[in-house]
């Protein structure tokens, strides 16, 4: 492919579109399903599937710990895993802006391929559109995903009851801090990077040891605060979190102090919140601590019947601060 930049012709469905697909997408994503060369892939599944979608508009496109492509694969893999499914197949829809460097597209596509390999899933179907200069922003990526639901699991907010433990899988806020640092040209230590990661293999191990988990959610836009508020509202339980137990890196705390953020509202791309009966907690934590994406997992609080729908944070000095659903645009285009 001789072009260095995306042109409108790459989205028009003709020779240039085919070149883009056949020289960049197909070699990177190659697998038996993609090779069917249909507009849709034909796929074996079990009788019950999970199906999800997300679009990615993160800015900047490249950041410490990943890029928009890694985010797009991991995000959809994680959404599937959170329903209690084994992610299997991903679709990729790209909206490219005229003038986007093909070199950057190759980098993104290669990263997607690596993330798919790590997660053990197939990229099976896709679509590429091109919009005029200034009608897009480089690249937007939509991924949709299909997974096989694991027999015997019933992950649903209604299963959350009072007196359950709330576990998070590791440090909160890394992704948002890495993105915001870039946007504000803040120098941060190299250790601070997006936590973007596929959680499906960890989730699978957890569900093997504790299939009766009530609910799991990845804490993306709106952070842990959004997840806790959603579950409190949907399950009709109260939630109390201990500030002392919230795992937040020192660098991220410092960053929050400077910019006026609260880490519980910061987006993550490789962290989940688990609600489970207290009798399962130690088993779940034991499994998590053996996995690279769960090694810093800990219990951050519990549910109660005292204040249904409310999320409170017990502060270090013993008071309770209400953690509301995030109101507006805390951090736009974080994913």
């Amino acid at each position: 492919m001789e072009d260095k930049f995306i042109t409108m012709a790459h989205g028009a469905g003709g020779v240039k579109s085919r070149e883009l697909v056949e020289e960049i997408m197909v070699p990177a994503f190659d697998n038996e399903y993609l090779r069917q060369m249909h507009d849709g892939a034909k796929l074996p599944v079990k009788n019950n599937i999970a199906f999800t979608t997300d679009s990615y508009v993160v800015k900047p496109l490249f950041f410490n710990g990943g890029n928009i492509g890694k985010l797009a694969v991991c995000g959809t893999v994680n959404d599937l895993a959170m329903t209690g499914a084994v992610p299997k197949y991903i679709s990729v829809g790209m909206i490219l802006e005229e003038g986007f460097p093909i070199k950057d597209l190759r980098t993104i596509v290669d990263t997607m391929s690596q993330a798919a390999a790590e997660a053990g899933i197939y990229i099976v179907t896709g679509d590429t559109k091109v919009v005029n200069k200034n009608s897009g922003d480089g690249i937007f990526i939509n991924t949709a995903g299909v997974g096989n639901l694991i027999d015997g699991c019933d992950i649903a907010p209604r299963n959350v009851k009072p007196e359950m433990d709330i576990i998070v899988s590791g440090y909160l806020g890394d992704h948002a801090a890495a993105i915001m640092a870039l946007r504000h040209n803040l120098q941060l230590p190299d250790t601070l990077k997006s936590d973007c990661a596929p959680l499906n293999k960890l989730v699978y191990k957890i569900l093997q040891t504790a299939p009766k988990i009530a609910v799991m959610r990845d804490a993306t836009r709106g952070g842990a605060a959004a997840v806790l508020n959603e579950i409190a509202a949907q399950a009709g339980v109260g939630i109390i979190i201990d500030e002392d137990n919230l795992p937040v890196r020192k660098e991220v705390r410092g960053f929050c102090d400077i910019l006026g953020f609260d880490p519980i509202y910061l987006a993550n791309e490789g962290k989940m919140v688990i609600f489970a009966d207290k009798t399962y907690s130690s088993r779940i934590l034991a499994v998590m601590h053996k996995d690279v994406y769960g090694k810093n997992a800990c219990i951050i609080g519990s549910t109660n019947s005292i204040a249904p729908g409310e999320v409170g944070l017990r502060t270090a000095i013993g008071g309770i601060r209400i953690i509301d659903m995030p109101a507006g645009e805390q951090i736009p285009r974080i994913c």
Copy 2:
């Protein structure tokens, strides 16, 4: 919902995001699967599915015969149908530009709901992102879809052999002509409108009567010319089309004469091309002629072993003109 325009807060994952989803999307798309309120839907399927995706960036967003929302539902429904599947579930990923009128969003969402009802499919999961003013173009929509593969069908380019009939389901070029007329401020008769339509029920009836169809493709970007060239290349057959048999409305021919287009290259959003053994053609046509979306179906040509990979048009005066794969941006952002 009091807001009149989309703000960045509607995409930030907090209260405003939830409001947008709960007051606009959920009521319009309501069904048992969407009501699960997961990030992913849990769905029953059979053992073999088809899975596809497309993003829609059509400009303008509203046109005679439909809008971007109708396109997004019908396009993915049709891609599923073309693989020999019964479309079941659709995901909707929206990328909204800051400042987009919520009134327009409601119209688009309502249209999607109507199109889903006509096609008999469920919108089961979704995602909404917001990008800054001038980083998008009003609204982009991605849909992905899942369908159950119909037993006994084997739709694949390799099944296309020489001496098969090539059928199109009706008039070519209506969609592109309707869009381009708007862009050029051309007054066209009201009869000229986008052919945007869900073809899945027609396809199902065809497959019931003739399950051994070799291949079907909807003729979208790049028009019938792109489909014919793809199949000729993938199946290694030659194709000859009779110009006299190409169904094109008089208004569309006139429009093509003015703007210098060839109708065989114009995008359609409710037309398909079928390759089938000649012994099935009359049965297929009989079924099609009884359906509103197939009533003008006809045979336009046939495959041959003489010029593998080549598509020729036999003109009214008897010569053969080569129909190449469309080269570049004949019509950008047509879907």
